[in-house]
């Protein structure tokens, strides 16, 4: 595996040099491909682009659209374009505000579970999910979190009309002019639904998929060995701060290992400068390089057979972090942090959180 990775890295560097790729982000230079372009103003509201990976849906957090090409990205790299069939759109209107201790990621799990139960009568398959309603409560990180689980339910795109706060972030970091897009008043949707989120509890997705979400109280007390915070769904600066609020001044439970992977080099630098990295290290966590962490083929920080993990990974399909018979649970950054301290799955509202101020100005 290591030899193959080294070989692939060498090839990529050669190819980038040979073909004159201007935006080549080597290890240590960018971070997670579905996060740092939004944080650094490469990806801007109103943009359309082709991506190789399906979690390009994250682009919707900033009001852009990343169209997943898979292996066909080679045609895009060669010619600059490819054929597409326009996906249909479905609209989900969010009503109410999340309670304290409840994270956008919890809402994403709940949406997936509601789809599975048939409580939300929408089909996400090769559709674009457009959010509407009480969206101002969601900052960029929360919007990215809300792109994650719908993607696991086969949404091809997710779109948030950009708020003033998102537009301000984009203007501050933009490397080129941009024109945001918004839904037309007479836009057609294949289907529409509403969801009241004001009573939602923190969620935990049981092993097997994001759609297996239940209230945290149903599984609280389940002993854990392994924990991970990061991924395209929970890897932004704000997610790291959320985890740090619980980890500050506390230690991981004996026998629990916690891996933390910020989504970008920029976040890592900021977290280091603000002493947040030290909060994690003092607690006993392992800092991973910005990127996917164990969530991508368990290259780093895998689980062993029979172990129990709780994480913020994109999904918890069997084998996601290595051993197929490991039990993988998912939760919000807060739930994972608190569980790692407790040594078992725990409600983030069960312990007091420290007051750590977000330094990033665009934070809501």
């Amino acid at each position: 595996m290591a030899a193959r990775a080294a070989e692939r890295g060498a090839f990529n560097r050669r190819a980038a040099a040979q073909w004159g790729v201007r935006h080549f982000f080597d290890v240590g230079r960018g971070g997670h491909g579905h996060i740092f372009p939004m944080e650094t103003g490469m990806l801007l509201p109103g943009m359309f682009y082709f991506d190789n990976d399906r979690h390009s849906t994250n682009a919707g957090a900033i009001g852009a659209f990343g169209f997943r090409m898979g292996a066909e990205i080679s045609r895009v790299l060669a010619t600059g374009t490819n054929w597409v069939m326009t996906p249909k759109s479905v609209r989900l209107t969010i009503k109410g505000r999340l309670k304290p201790g409840v994270h956008a990621r919890d809402l994403g799990f709940h949406i997936a579970a509601s789809l599975k139960r048939g409580a939300l009568r929408l089909n996400f398959d090769y559709r674009v999910l457009e959010y509407a309603g009480d969206l101002d409560q969601f900052d960029l990180a929360a919007r990215a979190a809300l792109c994650s689980s719908p993607t696991e339910m086969r949404a091809y795109g997710v779109f948030f009309p950009p708020s003033e706060a998102i537009l301000a972030h984009a203007r501050r970091h933009a490397r080129q002019p941009f024109t945001p897009v918004f839904p037309d008043a007479d836009a057609h949707y294949e289907a529409e639904a509403e969801l009241d989120v004001s009573a939602l509890e923190p969620q935990v997705a049981l092993p097997g998929g994001v759609q297996n979400a239940v209230n945290v109280s149903e599984v609280a007390g389940t002993r854990i060995d392994h924990a991970f915070i990061g991924s395209c769904g929970s890897g932004m600066y704000e997610d790291m701060i959320e985890a740090a609020r619980y980890l500050k001044g506390r230690s991981l439970a004996p026998g629990v290992r916690l891996f933390i992977a910020p989504g970008s080099e920029q976040s890592m630098k900021q977290l280091a400068a603000e002493g947040i990295v030290n909060i994690f290290l003092e607690a006993g966590a392992v800092m991973l390089p910005p990127g996917c962490g164990p969530c991508n083929d368990a290259v780093i920080g895998p689980v062993h057979s029979g172990e129990v993990s709780i994480s913020t990974a994109a999904n918890n399909n069997a084998g996601r972090f290595g051993a197929k018979d490991a039990k993988l649970y998912l939760g919000s950054p807060a739930t994972v942090a608190v569980s790692a301290i407790a040594g078992h799955i725990a409600d983030p509202r069960s312990i007091e959180a420290s007051d750590i101020r977000l330094s990033r100005r665009e934070a809501a």
């Binding site: 399906r54 066909e72 045609r75 060669a78 069939m85 398959d125 090769y126």
Partner: protein
Amino acid sequence: MSEFEWRLRGRCYRLGHDVPHAGGVVPNWVITGRHFDAADIIPHLFEETDPGFHERCKPGDIIVAGRNFGMGPKMNGYIAMQALGLGLVCESMPFLAYRAAIGCGLRVMTDCVAVTEFCESGDELEVDFRDGYFINHTRNITREYPPVPDTLREIIEVGGNAGWLKRWWAERQGATLR
């Protein structure tokens, strides 16, 4: 490209509804192991449901499937079907499965309503993927279905995405030389 054979004539191989790519078309390890060489995949086509299929099928044979065929965006099974000279007709496919099949250069038609009701395995079929004709010679039934869209034909004619890129590159080199 006029020599490309859009009309296939061969035996029907009928499948039911909801046949997934992983397990139903090829074993999951073929997908997770990232096997993309036709020669490697062919012995395992339909292996879990019909071992030895690859030895019994002949070029021109047509796989007829029900609704929701080939769930998943994976190409492995279609690489084998294309290399074996088979065609695929189904009642519906998830869009990404269809896209994968087109990308492999497979002659494929989807949205063929109730097509599995008009044939049984072993029937002699004739399908024209360019005009959408489906003829069952054994049962004397003819149906007309949505053909391969014009814009996607050139991809299939050159053997899929890889062939399309090779041609694009060759044309570009030619243009540079001139």
